[in-house]
Amino acid sequence: MRWPGLAARLAARNLRRRPGQALLLLLTLTIATGVLGVAMSLYGSADEPWNRVWRATRGFHVAFTVYHPPDEPGDRALVAELRRRAARLTGAPGVVAVGGPWTHLYGSIRLAGGTEDLTAEVRGPGPYAVDQPLVTAGAWIGDGDGVVLESGLAATLHAGPGDTVTIQGRPFPVRGVAETVSRGRFPLSRPAQVWVSPETARRLRGLGMTEEGFELQLRLAEPGEAADFAAAHRSLEAVPASSSVVPYLETWQQRRAGSHSDIDILAGTLFAAGGFIAILTIATAAVLVAGRMAARIHQVGTLKAIGVTPRQILLVLLVEHLAIAAGATALGLGLGRLLAPPIAATSVTVLGRPQPPPLTVARAAIVAAVAVTVVLLGTARPALHGIRRSTLRSLAAGPRPPRHPSRLAGLAARAGMALPGVLGLRSAWRRPGRLLTNATGLALGVAMIVVALALRDSLDLLELRPPEPGHAASDAAVAVLYDQIRSVIFGTAGLLLVLATINAWIVAAFAARDAARNQAVLRAVGATPRQTVIALIVSQLGACAIAVVAGIPLGLGLWSLMEGGDLPAVRVSATALVLLAAAVPIVFAGIVWVPARLLSRRPVAPLLAYE
């Protein structure tokens, strides 16, 4: 049998021989790939529904929009000039259809809890060559009074054809409900939008609505050239710096990207969470692989003895762990396909049913790359370390004896610390790599909890705050979005803590194995099992100290990056931080207690006879 085939067989046997460790590695990797898989399936799941409406409404390829604050009407002459520029743009090469320019009026509409800012787009009876809104209920605007509601606004108002809405304090009948891609869906996209006929517009002007600009929409012969077309006509956007009038050209792809901000924010948060989790998974993988290497040192020695080269042994290890990475990738992507649709369905911006984007090779490759990177980074050091050791030295594998007595333990003893604690401190730094790995995992978990605590307090404040004038519904929608983000962050904190717990468990189990001889010696000279358990727990508590010292400032730093915008600034209470700092070592001690207790129950004599 050729070597690659033999390597694959050896790898398969190793996986079968220690299924627990393989499953643990698979689980930790799948947590990372699963979160990334969900983010991957979520990101872009609103695109296809948007495209469907865009096609059905003959949506624009390039829009030229002019906006001026309603309370600052701006330079009428400049607006007139911009209308002339818009007219010239309709004759530009490549333009095959024109919609508008449609005038926008600014006012307000009443809904439960207050009023919302409103844009009324003035339309003739149609049909339109570009952006023919898709009527989902009732009829399009026609002769006589009445408005057509954008579908998100209709859903928020629970209004439909035959109902009335209050605009500028006067009732207007609802003629219909329509969807468009020209605007994002209310309430996350502001202001609310209705379509009105010129006759209704005249009445609205009489009620105090003011002009706030217009929009011209164009379809091009080549939709893919929209960005080039916009770039070629940037001169249209030129206005004096002192002017409050804002003209801008926008492509259909840009507007699509901005139309479902909640899903993008959610996916972005999940990507960040996946990144955090992946970092921690590297640590877990490294600890696990080191443990697997220690357990397989005999096999490595045997392979070397029969003439297998270190490189070939490394290949066996890589095949084994890459197989786990492949499994984690498949599971992660599968979880993403499974979980993303219900998460996306909570979005208030999607035009219809969300649809996860097709699983392209590129998307799968990103998740696979993360899994493979984690495995490579986690495997490389312990694997090379194990391979380079002489076989005889490997057989005596154990922690390197300390070179200097621990000063910290000496100080603790002089300060009157109980003997088991001092003994624990003596061995605390025997495995600094594992201690720091453990500390990293715990610190990330602690940081995420701090962020989650801050977010909880901030959102509580947000809910208590009265809505801003004209934002009655949209503030509530933003709060819903933040609620979702809070769930993601709490979930991430939970997953990080699960990983940190797995890390702590593995490290504690290995520490117990390392400490077995010393513990047996201690018991032989009269230490009780309880004292040896305490010593082992204390030896591992350094990771907690580092995690608390590093994790809390890291969390506060992350929070300072997140706050701002709509989120009220809050300080995480000192009490909460103190409780967190106290809880971490207690929980961690509980985790270490299990392997320490198991070790303390083992008979002493065989442990001493081992040497």
């Binding site: 003994l423 010393n518 201690l522 009269g526 009780t528 004292q531 004599a605 001493l608």
Partner: protein
């Protein structure tokens, strides 16, 4: 004389290849205060297991064990630990010092465990290290000591609480001749102090320094020899060779 060890019908069984093996098979043993007893026998005859049973590192499957007049075969793990720290000192062939503790800290450890003050424990540990000629290595970690130095530290640790009995398992097995002589001299001083000593050894020279020699085979004591200055060491070696040959 005070009886320090009294064992009646001690049995310890193991599973080997699916069938039970009696590592210690009905051993009766009495050791008086100030008495030194050596145990010899072929490898695997149960010498070390007997020592572990006497020190509570293993539990007998049957039999009674009294140490210092107290019945100890039914003690729990914790009770044994507390009893051992005051009354039993162990010396192992592999020294078994705690890697992270310096020589003096290893020696004072049992004293701290019985609740002595740090000052008293340190004073006693330093005294013992001085007696054993390794006071200059008091602040060194075990990894920085020679085999002989480690064993002296281990002996000092076994003696620090003035236990009723010192149990030594091949204490000179890893030592050169000079270090062996030093350890034997120490054991001689021990007996003068009234402490009992039980030494498991393959070395007839070591065995010949005891008051009594027990010979074990297949888990049982098959011979007891009272030793004195006239007992020839070569005879002991011949006896041991015979036993090895029978195996």
């Amino acid at each position: 004389m005070t009886r320090v060890i009294e064992a009646r019908g001690l049995v310890r069984r193991y599973e080997a290849d699916g069938s039970p093996v009696r590592a210690v098979d009905g051993v009766d043993l009495e050791v008086e205060a100030g008495e030194a007893v050596s145990v010899m026998g072929p490898s695997g005859c149960g010498k070390s297991t007997l020592l572990h049973l006497l020190g509570g590192l293993e539990r007998p499957d049957a039999g009674e064990l009294h140490l210092g007049g107290a019945r100890v075969d039914g003690l729990s793990e914790t009770q044994w630990a507390v009893f051992r720290r005051r009354n039993v000192g162990f010396v192992f062939q592999a020294f078994h010092l705690v890697d992270e503790l310096t020589s003096v800290e290893n020696v004072e450890l049992p004293a701290l465990l019985v609740g002595d003050s740090r000052r008293a424990a340190r004073r006693r540990a330093v005294e013992l290290l001085e007696r054993l000629g390794v006071a200059g290595r008091a602040g060194h970690l075990p990894d920085h000591l020679s085999g002989g130095e480690r064993q002296r530290v281990a002996v000092a640790r076994a003696l620090v609480n003035r236990p009723l009995v010192v149990l030594a398992d091949e204490p000179t097995g890893n030592l050169d001749s000079r270090a062996t002589v030093d350890i034997l001299r120490l054991f001689g001083e021990l007996r003068q102090g009234g402490q009992a000593l039980l030494v498991v050894t393959h070395d007839a020279r070591v065995a010949s320094t005891a008051d009594r020699l027990l010979t074990m085979r297949d888990g049982a004591i098959v011979a007891q020899t009272r030793l004195d200055a006239t007992t020839p060491v070569t005879g002991l070696l011949a006896d041991l060779a015979d036993l090895e040959g029978e195996r």
